[in-house]
């Protein structure tokens, strides 16, 4: 892997940090965006020691879509005008039961997971198209494959993100740039810590990060499942007839 210019949106997530470490070890220039400045500074100090040539932090609420275009331009100029990789990690799992009763909370979930994420992805697409190089990697979820009673609000936002990035991949393909949307299954992170059942289906953040970097650095399909076995599981879940599906608690 060559020395890369990488923008990481939602850098404080566990998977984002593992991804940043992989790039840091190769001497990358990094821009980290997230909400908590003090924690971002801790990450930046760590990543520089681990080998990052440069590590800037941008502390902001990424769901403020009116700031997206100007902030993204600043991030790119901090990398001398060229981004080799733009990673979008942030998301909000939310509390489905609560959101069903509180529509403002539901819309907030959709705004974080879809609307604001779409703004960043479109800003990244414009930049990559101008450069005619680079890759956008957006983290989505298997929850977007079929609406299920337990998490369809989160799932709807992620489904939207998946289609958006798939479209960006199509748009960028003739221009020499790429986009990949990664549908993640269960990952053992703070986002899912309240779910006590851990077993074979649960992946570690470091393993997921390695898979994402591979999708960025090597030829890849525009839509990938991480880990790959989720493609099989979700194919089965999608073909179960509604009559049967509606009897489950999935």
């Amino acid at each position: 892997m060559l020395k890369r210019n990488i923008i990481i949106l939602g850098a404080l997530s566990a998977i984002a940090e593992e991804t940043a470490r992989l790039y840091a070890a190769k001497g990358a220039n990094l821009v980290l965006a997230g909400r908590n400045e003090e924690r971002l500074n801790q990450l930046a100090a760590d990543l520089k020691i681990r080998g990052a040539a440069q590590c800037d932090v941008v502390a902001m609420d990424l769901s403020h879509e009116e700031l997206v275009a100007s902030t993204f331009a600043e991030m790119t100029s901090a990398l001398n005008g060229k981004a080799d990789g733009v990673y979008l990690f942030y998301g909000l799992l939310g509390d489905q039961r609560q959101e069903e009763g509180d529509i403002t909370a539901a819309l907030r979930n959709i705004n974080v997971n879809f609307t604001s994420a779409a703004a960043w992805c479109l800003a990244a697409a414009n930049q990559l198209e101008r450069q005619a190089s680079g890759v956008l990697i957006a983290v989505s979820s298997v929850a977007g494959d079929r609406g299920r009673q337990s998490n369809y609000i989160y799932g709807a936002g992620k489904a939207g993100l998946t289609v958006l990035v798939q479209g960006i991949a199509h748009r960028l393909a003739p221009k020499g740039a790429r986009a990949v949307v990664a549908k993640l299954g269960f990952v053992d992170t703070p986002m899912t810590a309240h779910i006590a059942k851990k077993g074979l289906l649960w992946a570690k953040p470091a393993a997921v990060a390695a898979r994402l970097v591979a999708a960025a650095e090597k030829p890849s399909l525009p839509v990938v499942y991480v880990p790959g076995f989720w493609r099989v599981i979700m194919t089965i879940i999608c073909i179960v007839p509604a009559k049967i599906f509606h009897k489950t608690k999935l």
């Binding site: 924690r39 100090a45 020691i49 681990r50 703070p190 810590a193 309240h194 851990k198």
Partner: protein, 439 residues
């Protein structure tokens, strides 16, 4: 910060005690839970490579610190490294070796955190030169229930109580250590077969000044003429500039618990005989990377499962020099007779250097370490007999390895334990501490 229900998958390396824990896993120092927030007690833990119950806090909170794992600073001139407590020795070496620096001393696994290495004041093959891990610690951060986070510098009573203090004095948040320069990632290792304990001590005596690292494998399974035979290893760093860190790929995995019936006197004796022959066949002097030399078992993930689903005990004692030869011989005679010995037993001499920790295990003398598959009463009774030999010889056991020593044996072996009791945080405890602090 994460909040989980009670879970059963947090065990120690020995896996004898299985207790439910409420696990909290912060990723940042500012999300470490406040010790005053709950009625229950807390215990900070790292990679849980301790064998017994010093990382168990049954039915209460564990604070898993492995997510707080960032580097703060490194001084290329002095080798001073400042890291979060959850950084592992594995991560330190991967970072430091290419830059020509190594840990001042390292235990037999690199899968331990800096916080855990400090809290157990761990030792390694160069103890006779470098002392314990604590000798390389300059300062650390500590969160206690009675005040704001504090910086603890070398020398004070809180420093000494925390070194080897089993995490009981507070939550160690970050550690500042001194690394040492190396000019290669390889060592020149010499292997010498010895026939009995007396020969071992002669070799150790003769090697201490000339070799930085000494250790030996001893056959504790075969009696008779084979009793006390072993392979002595002594090594110094190469100086050839090959600064290649260990690989990231984990090697073999032990995918299941070994059926207990396969672990008996015969198989263990056969293994030891085979291992002895294998070691003797190799070249006498060999250049070896640090990973297989310092961390032979790290290449088999979950190797503790070799001892079966009931788990294992490790028994590690230290005997003062004056009684070492007789007591070690008595110990291995007793173990060989029981037929319960382990695949690999380790015998090494300790030097006189002290870190100052009130509960630091090593003192000048010899240490013997070996594993026993958990066969309940049979194993406990054997270890009680070994205790008698150790106590009579003025020795003591290593808390990081222990899951069953009596309060009396602990308090007699560690006369400074009252100093730890005074500085222990009232909100922190462990099953180990509940057992051994009983008066």
């Amino acid at each position: 910060m994460t909040d989980l229900d009670f879970r059963l998958d947090y065990t120690s390396w020995g896996r004898v005690v299985r207790a439910p824990h409420h696990v909290l896993k912060p990723r940042f120092v500012d999300t470490v839970p406040r010790l005053t927030d709950s009625e229950g007690s807390f215990l900070p833990v790292g990679m849980r490579r301790s064998y017994g119950d010093s990382v168990i806090n049954s039915c209460n909170h564990l604070i898993d610190m492995t997510g707080v794992d960032r580097f703060h600073s490194f001084d290329e001139e002095t080798g001073i490294l400042h890291c979060d407590a959850g950084v592992t020795l594995d991560a330190v070496l991967r970072f430091s070796v290419p830059r020509g620096w190594f840990l001042a001393t390292t235990p037999g696994t690199r899968f331990v955190t800096l916080g855990g290495a400090l809290a157990n004041d761990v030792h390694g093959k160069n103890h006779h030169r470098a002392g314990t891990f604590g000798c390389s610690v300059r300062s650390f951060g500590l969160i206690r229930s009675d005040g704001p986070p504090q910086r603890v510098e070398r020398g004070g009573p809180l420093f000494e109580a925390t070194l080897g203090g089993l995490g009981l004095t507070g939550i160690i948040t970050d550690v500042e250590i001194e690394l040492v320069r190396v000019e290669s990632a390889y060592l020149n290792i010499e292997r010498i077969a010895y026939g009995n304990i007396r020969e071992f001590f002669a070799l150790a005596h003769e090697s201490g000044d000339r070799f930085e690292h000494t250790v030996s494998w001893i056959d504790c399974a075969n009696g008779g003429d084979a009793l006390g035979r072993g392979i002595f290893q002594r090594a110094n760093w190469c100086r050839d500039g090959r600064l290649i860190p260990h690989g990231t790929k984990s090697g073999a995995v032990m995918p299941f618990d070994m059926p207990v019936r396969l672990l008996n006197g015969t198989t263990v004796r056969l293994f030891n005989t085979f291992y002895n022959a294998l070691q003797k066949r190799g070249p006498r002097v060999q250049e070896t990377h640090y990973a297989p030399f310092f961390y032979p078992l790290d290449s088999i993930r979950d190797w503790n499962r070799m001892y079966g689903g009931a788990g294992l005990y490790q028994y590690q004692c230290v005997i003062p020099s004056i009684n070492a030869e007789d007591a070690i011989e008595a110990l291995i005679r007793r173990i060989a007779r029981s037929g319960a010995g382990s695949f690999l037993a380790v015998l090494k001499t300790f030097g006189e250097r002290q870190s100052g920790g009130c509960l630091s295990f090593p003192f000048e003398g010899a240490t013997l370490a070996l594993d026993f598959a958990n066969r309940k009463a049979e194993t406990l009774s054997l270890m009680a007999q070994l205790d008698q030999i150790v106590e009579d010889a003025g020795g003591r056991l290593y808390p990081a390895k222990d899951g069953r020593m009596s309060a009396g044996m602990f308090q007699q072996g560690y006369p400074d334990w009252m100093r730890l009791r005074e500085l222990k945080d009232p909100t922190i405890t462990s099953d180990f501490w509940q057992r051994v602090s009983y008066c």
